[in-house]
Amino acid sequence: MTPLLSAAGVTAAILVWAAVTVAGVVPAQTLPGPAPVAARILTLLTDREFYEQFLDTLTTWVLALGITGVVAVPVGLLIGYFAFLRRPTELVIHGLRSVPSTALLPVAILFFGLGLQMKFAMVAYAIIWPLLLNTAYGVRSVDPTAMYVARSLRWSTPRSLVGVVLPSAAPGIASGFRIAGGIGLVVVLSAELLGASRGIGTVLVRYQQSDQPDFVYAGIVLVGALGILLQYTLGQLELRLIPWSPAAR
């Protein structure tokens, strides 16, 4: 039933889109109808160069999410666990996470150039904060009874961290990854739209400059589809790795 409903939802959206274009609410030069966009989607999917740019974006996303995650989760655990670290770090984090990556683009280009490294830096900057914060919040929701048991078993701090805190914080960490995944994709695209030399965003910009909106929206639809796919993948990973998470209910 659910997949049928979802399909119905998508169909309804496409119909609304077609209606808006036909009615001329938004001129065709700004928003083409679903038919031309669908045709362009097929063109792009069979274009080898687009596929390469697509992989570039995807690679950046995976690398950034993975490596930043590996750094952020241990640090986040420490921040959440040690009270004296929590307040000063949260202060700095809330300040720094308010600054858009795009504002730091010139600095990023200066330090890292125009390629993968720069995009990685931009995405890492954008997603490290939700990862840190969500991990720290996850630590705070650890079951005190479990900590009590660990303490009475005389577990050392590192062992408690890995054996009790980490599993309890895991649902919070997972939700952090989902948020970071969503933000990460948007930031990669923004970096490509605004300055990088490779990736789907650069393709979109090229079509935007040459005033071919049907290609631009074809690209956007594909990016959205990628986003859905990535979110689904993260959700599935969470189900596999953290069966005790509330999301599995």
């Binding site: 001129p27 030069q29 700004t30 992989l55 570039d56 995807l58 690679t59 995976v62 690398l63 010139p106 280009i109 200066l110 330090f111 890292f112 150039g113 125009l114 390629g115 993968l116 490294q117 720069m118 605004l194 300055g195 030399s197 490779r198 650069t202 910009v205 090229r206 079509y207 935007q208 400059q209 040459s210 005033d211 071919q212 796919l229 689904y232 993948t233 599935q236 990973l237 189900l239 596999r240």
Partner: protein, 339 residues
Amino acid sequence: MRLQSWSFVIPCILALVATACSGAPVQSASSSSPSAAATVTAQPTAAGPVAVKVTTLALCNESYLYWGMEHGIFEKHGLKVETVKTQGGSAGIAAIVSGAADFSFTNGLTAILSFNVGFPIQIVAGAYESPQPPKPPSQALFVKPDSPVKSPKDLVGKKIGVNELGGINHIVTAAWLRKLGVNPQDVNWVALPFPQIVQGVVQGRLDAGQAALANIGANDVRVLGDPFREGVNKVIFAAYLATNSFIKDHPGVSEKFQAAIAESIAAVEDPKNLDAQFALAAKNCGNDPKVLAKQPQQEYEAAIDMATMEDMGKLLIQEGYLTKAPDMTKLVPEFARKK
């Protein structure tokens, strides 16, 4: 269910590994830390050409670049050119300072401003200037056909679309308004990509817009004039910059680049090559050759006119971006100057 969920993940991981192993981030090999601005990109081999990275905006105007690469002109001068796509001139400057590129395709005003702020750059070659009479104008300040705006003087308090705040188009348009007695501060400047500016004017979202005639294309608008003709003397629309350390560490390479650009320009201006030139440019910039053929051509010029540089310095002072013009002789080395 188990197989289904993992089946999404495995192709993704394989794709990641495949791309990583194929050495995708080649360009990052050349980027270095900011304190070591010396690039490692230009590697002179014993007998082979020197590899250089040149930023490009993939514009149709860069036809000479495409021609030079296609017809081996750069190779003739001992250079192997690789293009690096950037979004704008200032990104190009960041690219050469960081070492991600060697030559940056940037407009003249941006070059002066960055030099003035302390960027270690010089202009090594020209690309094109704003066309002077008798050549037809290439830029326009335009309004909707039925707009109440009859002259730029009527634009006080109105919204004008330009492609970049503080960019060359904005500065020059402001200069024209100032010349007509309008204080540019009394106008609302809005930054938008060129196609959006055109659509914005056509749909009545903007009171006026500034873009190249090439961007306007077939859209129905009324042109008030060309700010680059009426508002200022000649300006250098586009040129190539390099860092001081690149010039010092690779003696002769910048001179060769300038000579190659000059020869490529001569080639595309040759009437014999017109059709082929349009076809090649169209292929690289994603446009139609017939459309390109009808558009006004730029004033290609590979050497920098020092008088024009002085004029641009005065323009920047007049518009409040500079208090004192920098020493243009330090910005433009001997070999790049017009004799």
